[in-house]
């Protein structure tokens, strides 16, 4: 693994222009300022109740995600390059899903093996031939991108199901504005606070034809025990829409209603943060108590929009991911603007052989895994772990893909020893409405807080940073 690219210092050791002010400011301030602000931030976060539940950890059920007070800065030029690429990716994702549940032309053309789709758990047969309003399937995507040098952005994952984290983007900015007004004054930072407005506009734009001119949208949450519940309630509040659970909704004559103190109220758009499997016990898991019985029949009748659509997982699967360059080309006739990380599909024999020979240098991921679970980082793993993975790979090659271990870029981060470079990724949020694609300049920067670590997932000790996109 080569030395990581540092976004402040750059390859030649000089401070890169976007970080000029931050670097000067860091040199000016007394040493204890950062530490003081850091503690202040924690107090504010705890008081406002921004917590994050970690699976399988009862003691830490309402843990705070560590927040780093130093912003990650992206220049205007870098952002505009990234944004165009994201928009292209979003268009391709939607065309692809429409095709997969419709004419399946990409399969007929032989670009993707059929069984990868039809035997994929994320493919939902129930969606086959189903028309969705305005042909938009992925309304909200959280596309994870990383950098390894000053030039390119690599997409790591297209989160096209129910991506989370946007509340941190918004809250991190609020807290930074409170803690560092002087630092903002020295920069021109593009605002992110209009995200809720953009999201609401997106949701309303995709209401079904039968909806009134002012459609009713709701946010469907699995409930308070969900790890992202805070975000759900935060967003519903910012959007000014009801935060509903399955039991708050019911279906009658193929329309969806919510139970209110004033009687049933028709619902047109459901921004759902409940997984496909649990959405409707009459169509999916019969034991689900989180869903709405009959929701799929209302969906099929075209009387409600689900955002995101059911079955979008067929686009963000890690095995499908490796075909994204072809997907972009096939539907848009363009070269992809964002790079894909080279990916070995262990389902293919030659790929598997290569992966088994190079486990020490590769990252191996489960095709259907997420959150950094079930992952092997070869260069960091001990011999025993590698051996375990080798066995797993041999037993179930289909379940894995492998990628080179990327030297993720680093950003200055405030840690116990002072300010030090730590690896980061970025999740910008891309919205697709009937009228256009909207991207708020910024996103969620996740940072691996321990030295050398490449795992940025909050469930595994990663932290977050405010992401500043400079206005010019």
């Amino acid at each position: 693994m080569q030395a990581a690219f540092d976004e402040m210092t750059g390859a030649d050791g000089g401070v890169r222009p976007a970080y000029g002010e931050l670097s000067r400011w860091l040199a000016e301030i007394p040493p204890d300022v950062l530490d003081y602000r850091r503690r202040e931030a924690e107090v504010i976060f705890r008081r406002s109740g921004i917590t994050f539940a970690v699976y399988g950890d009862a003691a830490a059920q309402e843990r705070l995600i560590p927040f780093d007070v130093l912003p990650r800065i992206i220049s205007a030029a870098e952002w505009s390059r990234l944004a165009v690429g994201l928009e292209q990716r979003m268009k391709a994702l939607n065309l692809y899903i429409k095709d997969i549940y419709g004419k399946r032309e990409i399969l007929k053309a032989g670009h993707i093996p059929e069984d990868l789709i039809f035997q994929n758990p994320a493919f939902r047969p129930e969606m086959n031939g189903q028309k969705v309003p305005h042909d938009i399937y992925v309304h909200i995507a959280g596309i994870d991108v990383v950098r390894v040098d000053a030039d390119d952005f690599y997409v790591l994952e297209d989160n096209a199901r129910t991506p989370s984290g946007v509340s941190y983007m918004l809250e991190n900015r609020e807290i930074m504005l409170r803690l560092f007004p002087e630092l903002f004054a020295r920069h021109r930072v593009a605002p992110v606070e209009r995200y809720p407005d953009e999201l609401l506009a997106t949701l309303k734009s995709v209401a079904p034809a039968s909806a009134s001119s002012d459609p009713t949208a709701v946010l469907l949450t699995p409930g308070v025990f969900n790890s992202a519940y805070y975000e759900h309630s935060f967003l519903a509040d910012k959007l000014g829409i009801e935060l509903v659970e399955g039991r708050d909704l019911f279906v009658k004559n193929e329309s969806v209603f919510m139970r209110t103190t004033e009687g049933p109220k028709r619902v047109d758009v459901v921004y759902r943060r409940v997984d496909d499997d649990f959405l409707d016990p009459l169509a999916f898991r019969p034991d689900s108590t989180l869903g709405v019985p009959g929701l799929m029949s209302a969906y099929q009748a075209g009387n409600v929009t689900l955002a995101n659509a059911v079955g979008t997982g067929v686009a963000d699967d890690k095995a499908i991911y490796s075909y994204m360059p072809q997907i972009v080309k096939f539907y848009l006739g363009e070269e992809p603007l964002l790079k894909n990380v080279p990916t070995w599909r262990c389902r293919e024999e030659e790929h598997l052989a290569y992966v088994l020979d190079h486990l020490e240098e590769l990252v191996v991921k489960e095709v259907h895994g997420s959150g950094g679970y079930g992952m092997l980082i070869g260069p960091m793993a001990d011999k025993a772990t590698i051996a375990t993975f080798r066995a797993k790979l041999r037993a179930q090659p289909k379940n894995f893909i492998a990628q080179p271990t990327l030297a993720l870029s680093t950003c200055p981060t405030c840690v116990n020893e002072g300010v030090a470079p730590r690896h980061v990724d970025l999740r910008p949020f891309v919205l697709a409405g009937r009228d256009r694609i909207r991207i708020v300049p910024g996103g969620l920067t996740r940072v691996a807080l321990s030295q050398g670590s490449l795992v940025v997932n909050s469930s595994q000790g990663g932290g977050t940073k405010d992401t500043w996109v400079l206005d010019r």
Partner: protein
């Protein structure tokens, strides 16, 4: 053969539910082996029955009924003209390529026991078709028909280890075994006309279809140890019972419910001159 089917599902409620919602897959479609002469569906409560086609091409009906309800009856009846196609299913509505029916589902997951059962049979036969026939016969012999130990949530593996079950269980085992051999297989819900003169049945019937290269979909009925014949009326298909279930529903409020199903499958009266 002209088969007359009537199928009555009755729910009795101890305390009235606030509302009931159901999705019904009770309506057969035509294919080369069967022609639906007439069919009607009737729900006892005031409601609108909305017809839809599900992803597999089955005709489904959805309805919601509001309480108070002491009981709810869902009644279907009709006549279907069938002919024997040696189990071949041709001209049916196909919405997916056969490979879709290799998907695993929780109800049809093959465990090691089913896996070795399947492999043993496969190894003993030169071609897929005869292996499938052998499997049908073996299951018919090995699994005792018994309505007691299994329910609608019983998985193939559970039923196989019990060596007992009903048509649903035998079908699930058959499907699990096929898929473990990379043979696409699917669940069929429908009705079966018994040749022994018994017309009254406690439930509908279930069997499987497996995809045989060069032949296409072929229907196997492991409960009866035969390929499907003109005695079979095919109503709905799915990856497993859940996908083809005649009724999937739920209710809000209310107390206990008791469910009774009465199915009658008989040869239709020949028309004759008055």
């Amino acid at each position: 053969m002209r088969i007359r089917v009537s199928h009555l599902t009755t729910y009795r409620y101890e305390a009235s539910p606030k509302s009931v919602i159901q999705t019904l897959r009770l309506t057969p479609r035509n294919h080369a082996g069967q022609y639906v002469v007439y069919w009607r569906i009737d729900v006892s409560a005031d409601c609108r029955l909305a017809q839809q086609e599900d992803a597999f091409g089955n005709i489904s009906h959805a309805f919601t009924a509001d309480g108070p309800l002491n009981e709810l009856k869902v009644f279907v009846e009709g006549e279907v003209e069938t002919r024997d196609t040696q189990g071949l299913v041709a001209g049916a509505v196909e919405r997916f390529p056969p490979s879709l029916f290799l998907r695993e589902t929780p109800l049809t997951l093959a465990d090691d026991a089913i896996l070795s059962f399947a492999q043993e049979i496969r190894a003993a036969h030169a071609d897929t078709l005869s292996a499938l026939h052998a499997m049908t016969v073996r299951l018919n012999g090995d699994i005792t028909y018994d309505t007691n130990p299994t329910g609608s949530n019983t998985t193939a593996a559970e039923a196989f280890s019990l060596r007992r079950g009903v048509c649903q269980d035998l079908t699930h085992i058959f499907i699990a075994a096929c898929r473990s051999l990379a043979i696409p297989a699917r669940y069929v819900g429908g009705h079966f006309h018994r040749s022994d003169g018994v017309t009254s049945q406690e439930a509908g019937h279930a069997w499987a279809e497996a995809f045989v290269p060069d032949l296409g979909w072929v229907a196997f009925d492991p409960t009866n140890g035969i390929s499907a014949t003109e005695a079979h009326v095919r109503v709905a298909i799915g990856l497993d019972y859940l996908g083809a279930a005649p009724v999937r529903g739920t209710r809000t409020g209310g107390g206990q419910e008791t469910l009774t199903v009465a199915v009658n499958v008989d040869q239709a009266m020949r028309q004759s001159q008055n």
